[in-house]
Amino acid sequence: MAQATKGRLNYRCPSCFMRDLDIDMFYDAQKEEFYCMRCQFIGSEAEVLRMNEMVRVRYKDMMKRFNDFEDFSE
């Protein structure tokens, strides 16, 4: 089995990102999966992308545009 490499894009581990850790994942071409060296996450690119959307759940106002920063009525 050949060594792992970086993927096409340099995905971070979504599980570690959720605990404020930026860890580059490595890619196992034979199994077509990314894996994290720090934690136990493994997943396909599709799974990584799905979990990256879960990361955004905490950003409830991510797409909101604010006009008044002292107005809490909305």
């Binding site: 404020d20 950003y59 106002d61 545009r65």
Partner: protein, 608 residues
């Protein structure tokens, strides 16, 4: 009319941070690779183009490596002539073959070198700059510039008047985010421009004698709420940092958060006599052709263009003034006095929590107030000590450039602790018939006002519900310019039983340090007026009726913190703490009835 100033800064970094790690994966290290040098310069050109096409001038911070590159030097000269860009000099971007050959090290952060090396490198870099341009720069910078470094540069090169000198709240959090491999420990500084003191870069100068001679600007304008708890490098006016935080829509590539961040900074003019500030400083490694993490190059480029376009639009609308760093230094010197504070009433613009903080910074302190905890002070840095804190190899603080705290609710807990002990916070408890309510549990909002030299934070009243009594209480927090103290008034506006009497307990739980881990408290002394307790982790307490002052002296940070009080039946007390709760507590208790007020002042002094 309000004035919102922006500094756009670019650096031609021939070996960009991250780029060698990213593009060189699977190859042996070679920082002289031609492809790397060419790409780096291309990114710089694109950044310049983004700014210029949006009508913005820039400060070009030449790196040491770029001074060896004829094309980079020629570009800087051309853009200075054509667009009015300032040609400045960065102490970032040291890595290159020439530097490694000369200094025999892979270190690249100027503040962590020995003082001897700092001097040699500064003379070398400034000399090389003079050789290429025929003058010395007026602006410089790094992620952090320690006081000894600034003092040396100012003495040797008096033309320097502006420097990028810290990253706001970049400390243990950034270290953890980078898998404990990013050694930039520089928490506890100002978030907006300031005049550093000669003794400590983070602590603003109180007068001409303390003036280091430069105006400092922070590296990026950061989210004053998100950065305090999360990774600072996700929440700043660095478009690619917003991508790093994944704060964008993956389908549409939209990121309104970036514009909210810029606009909230614009809104700070209300609290700072009509002036607000932003800076954008993106290293070329963040616009790598290979993409950065999950963001492809096209998105990286788009975000940078959009950032510049928004600043450009504000300029066209007359809502923004773009300046070079040296222009800004002149502006700032005219605009600000030494003791004028920087204030920021800041709200959550990302998580939907509606939390609101207030940050205050002057030459005597930096303080954070949390309205979601009833106006509790959750962070306090005693700048009054002007702590001499040499940084770098050969000093007691090789990496740790943070200004020490007396309270830091994330590193040393705040209101909430597990099982036993207390965390650092300045709050109050209201007690009645055996029931006790801490104001940390009373969520509210605040309004800012200014009366003469006093900045006043008036909180919306909160309701405290006991089983047989309801109390409506209002907190007013006053920062008086130049007085190194924080006044807190607790006003009883209404009681369901007008004859009821409640007990108030005003307290501060403190310690000292720069990280999550406790320091040795053995050298501290606590006192109620003249009676003292030397700190020995013995959980002792001392109280005195009508005490004039309760205090703690902290020799390791050359600070004396105290509380004084005006209120009915006041009694001052101190608590020593113990090994499982290595804190100290200063406080006053007293009585309150309807329409009465209980007032305390938290005072900071240099210990000696």
């Amino acid at each position: 009319m309000d004035q919102f100033v922006v500094n756009i800064i670019h650096r031609p970094e021939m070996v960009p941070e991250y780029a060698e790690k990213v593009t060189g994966q699977g190859k042996t290290e070679d920082i002289g690779r031609k492809a790397l040098l060419t790409e780096s310069l291309d990114i710089f050109k694109i950044q310049q183009q983004c700014a210029h096409e949006n009508g913005l001038k820039t400060t070009i911070q030449m790196t040491y490596a770029s001074l060896f590159n004829d094309e980079a030097v020629a570009l800087a000269k051309e853009h200075h002539e054509k667009y009015g860009d300032e040609i400045a000099l960065s102490l970032l971007g040291l890595p290159c073959e020439q530097f490694r050959e000369k200094y025999k090290t892979k270190d690249f952060c100027i503040w962590m070198f020995s003082m001897e090396d700092k001097k040699a490198i500064v003379r070398d870099v400034f000399g090389k700059f003079y050789e290429r341009f025929g003058f010395y720069p007026e602006s410089t910078g790094s992620y952090y510039m320690d006081a000894d470094l600034i003092n040396f540069i100012k003495a040797e090169y008096p033309s320097v008047k502006c420097a990028v000198a810290t990253c706001w709240e970049e400390g243990p959090k950034a270290y953890h985010t980078c898998n404990n491999s990013w050694y930039t420990f520089m928490d506890g500084g100002p978030w907006a421009p300031w005049i550093p003191s000669k003794q400590n870069t983070h602590a603003p100068a109180a007068n001409e004698a303390e003036d280091s001679g430069i105006v400092a600007i922070p590296h990026l304008s950061r989210d004053l709420l998100a950065c305090y708890d999360g990774n600072g490098s996700n929440f700043g006016t660095h478009p690619q940092n917003v991508l790093r935080g994944m704060i964008y829509d993956t389908e549409t590539w939209e990121y309104p958060y970036l514009y909210n961040l810029i606009d909230q900074y614009r809104s700070l003019a209300k609290y700072n006599n009509g002036y607000a500030y932003n800076m954008m400083f993106v290293g070329p490694g963040w616009m790598n052709k290979m993409g950065r993490w999950e963001a492809p190059y096209e998105l990286l480029k788009k975000s940078y263009w959009d950032g510049c376009a928004y600043y450009g639009q504000l300029k066209k609308e007359g809502k923004l003034t773009d300046m070079t760093m040296s222009e800004f230094a002149d502006f700032y010197r005219q605009k600000k006095t030494y003791t004028e504070p920087e204030c920021a009433l800041w709200r959550d613009i990302l998580y939907g929590s509606n939390k609101q903080l207030f940050w205050y910074c002057d030459p005597y302190m930096r303080a954070g107030v949390n309205m979601d905890q009833g106006g509790a002070i959750f962070d306090l840095r005693p700048y009054v000590a002007k702590l001499e804190w040499p940084v770098g190899i050969g000093t007691p603080h090789i990496q740790d450039a943070s200004y020490p705290f007396l309270m830091q609710e994330k590193y040393r807990a705040g209101y909430f602790t597990h099982y036993a002990g207390e965390g650092t916070i300045r709050s109050a408890k209201v007690c009645h018939n055996g029931e006790e309510v801490d104001l940390c549990l009373c969520r509210t909002k605040a309004h800012f006002s200014q009366e003469g030299s006093r900045r006043i934070l008036t909180l919306d009243p909160v309701e405290i519900a006991f089983s047989d009594l309801t109390v409506k209480l209002q907190t007013v927090i006053t920062f008086a310019e130049g007085e190194s103290s924080i006044r807190i008034d607790r006003n009883i506006l209404e009681m369901s039983d007008p004859d009821a009497v409640v007990t108030i307990n005003e307290y501060m739980v403190g310690c000292y340090g720069t990280t999550e881990y406790t320091e040795d408290m053995s050298s501290l002394t606590l006192g109620v007026d003249g009676e003292t307790i030397p700190y020995e982790y013995k959980c002792r307490e001392l109280a005195a009726k009508d005490a004039g002052e309760v205090w703690c002296k902290l020799p390791p940070i050359d600070t004396r913190v105290s509380m004084v009080c005006e209120g009915r039946e006041k009694s001052g007390y101190i608590k020593e703490g113990y090994a499982f709760s290595p804190m100290f507590t200063l406080g006053y208790t007293g009585k309150l009835q309807d329409k009465e007020v209980f007032t305390t002042w938290l005072k900071l002094q240099k210990a000696d």
